[in-house]
């Protein structure tokens, strides 16, 4: 699903904001630190409780913040709203509880149910040095194939072995697929980059690619 989060190569943005950022101050406000800690702690509970939660599902929930809000909200505020949305979706909390800032009822104990998992994948189809195209169309709910490389030609730089496919994992299906690092010359991606010594590397799953 191509929402606003797929920012790579979008034009019209100005200078990089917040360049001065103290290495030793990871959070600018206490609420940001607390939000981050809550997410990390509750993710651990989701894992233990086998709710079907995965990091890829969390990424997709953040991606579904309305486009105008996504661009305007603080990074940690997005994490806060996404965790509320997950808890509401799971039936553990209600919107009015977050609006009031108090719980109205306690959820019953979770009953763990394991995620579905599929068999190991077949052997890798591509070898290092092979020319490949990134597919033009991806119909997944959540994908890690950015729009700016779709339909573009690159070369397999590394084979990383089978890795959990993000597109399936976002829907709660744990399935591995060969993962490659693919090098795209900047000139193959951007019309203004001809003659520049630059390249972009991305980790792409086998189902994102076609033989060139």
């Amino acid at each position: 699903m191509d929402t606003i989060h797929d920012l790579g190569g979008r034009e019209g943005f100005g200078p990089i904001r917040w360049q001065e950022d103290d290495d030793n101050k990871p959070f600018h406000d206490p609420w940001q630190a607390r939000t981050w800690a809550m997410c990390m702690l509750i993710f651990g509970e989701f894992r233990k409780g086998h709710t079907g939660w995965t990091l890829d599902w969390t990424r997709h929930v953040i991606e579904r913040i309305a486009p105008a809000d996504y661009l305007a909200m603080n990074y940690f505020d997005k994490w806060c709203q996404h965790l509320m949305a997950i808890l509401i979706d799971q039936g553990v909390a209600e919107i009015k509880e977050f609006v009031e800032g108090h719980s109205r009822w306690n959820p019953p104990e979770r009953v763990p149910t394991p995620l579905s998992a599929s068999a190991e994948p077949a052997a890798a189809k591509y070898a290092v040095g092979d020319a490949v195209f990134a597919k033009r169309d991806i119909v997944s709910m959540h994908t890690r194939l950015p729009a700016y490389v779709r339909g573009r030609k690159g070369v397999v730089h590394t084979y990383n072995g089978p890795e959990i496919l993000a597109d399936a994992s976002a829907a709660g299906d744990i399935r591995k697929e060969p993962l490659y690092t693919v090098r795209f010359e900047a000139a193959a991606l951007w019309p203004e980059a001809i003659g520049r010594r630059a390249a972009v590397y991305l980790d792409l799953w086998e189902s994102y690619l076609e033989s060139a």
Partner: protein, 228 residues
């Protein structure tokens, strides 16, 4: 089959993986919640604690542990060791997670990391265009600029322009390699060891390595600002 399966299902609280349902919840939350992010975070914490999903002191304990164990210094230490020890450098190149473990920094199971090395003719730059992936578990929280829409949009398309804004001007014969973190593999840039630091200790060398250098928005480290 358990005859009470449907009753159990009601208690499971599984994620729906229903994209449009989430979109609707977001719209309602955004219109109903108080506008100040600090108040929203407070509401989230109160509800979690009152529902028994989060012990009262869990957040404070987590933050204390995080601040103690994880930060940019971990990466700086590993890089300084790689500068002084060719065998360790080879390990960092072949298996960065193992190199961090050897240096005493444990990564979460399943995490992966690739170290990419700057040379006189190669400069590496790391971005995550789709979200804000960063080796958080090893070198701590990413800087605010790394998570900005500007950096995420521009780093892959205009890396020279982005570097110039950070005061980095590259010679024409240097190739820029931009690593867009699209999988669970994270990236860390190993900058070149500054000249004139042959006799420096690991600790002094680590003091030169900044968070920006490990992302690639700083190229030359300055020995005159560190302590020998």
């Amino acid at each position: 089959m358990d005859p009470h399966a449907s009753d159990n299902t009601a208690k499971i609280h599984r994620d729906s993986h229903a994209s449009d349902k989430i979109g609707e919840i977001h719209r309602e939350l955004h219109s109903d919640l108080p506008p100040e992010p600090a108040l929203r975070a407070k509401a989230l914490e109160s509800v979690l604690v009152e529902k028994g999903l989060l012990p009262l002191d869990a957040v404070d304990n987590w933050l204390e542990n995080f601040a103690e164990k994880i930060g940019p210094k971990n990466g700086a230490t590993v890089i300084a060791r790689a500068w002084r020890d060719p065998e360790f450098r080879a390990l960092l190149e072949a298996d960065a997670i193992e190199a961090f473990r050897t240096a005493g920094f444990e990564a979460r199971a399943g995490a992966d990391l690739r170290a990419v090395f700057n040379t006189p003719t190669i400069h590496n730059l790391v971005v995550c265009t789709l979200c804000s992936c960063y080796p958080l578990g090893l070198i701590g929280m990413s800087p605010a600029w790394y998570k900005s829409a500007e950096y995420r949009a521009r780093a892959v398309r205009d890396p020279h322009g982005v570097l110039r804004e950070f005061g980095v001007e590259l010679d024409a014969d240097i190739e820029i390699r931009v690593w867009d973190s699209t999988s669970e593999r994270r990236y860390i840039v190993v900058p070149e060891r500054p000249p004139g630091t042959q006799d420096w200790s690991e600790e002094a060398l680590a003091g030169l390595v900044t968070r920006n250098a490990m992302i690639g928005t700083q190229r030359d480290l300055r020995p005159n600002t560190g302590t020998a």
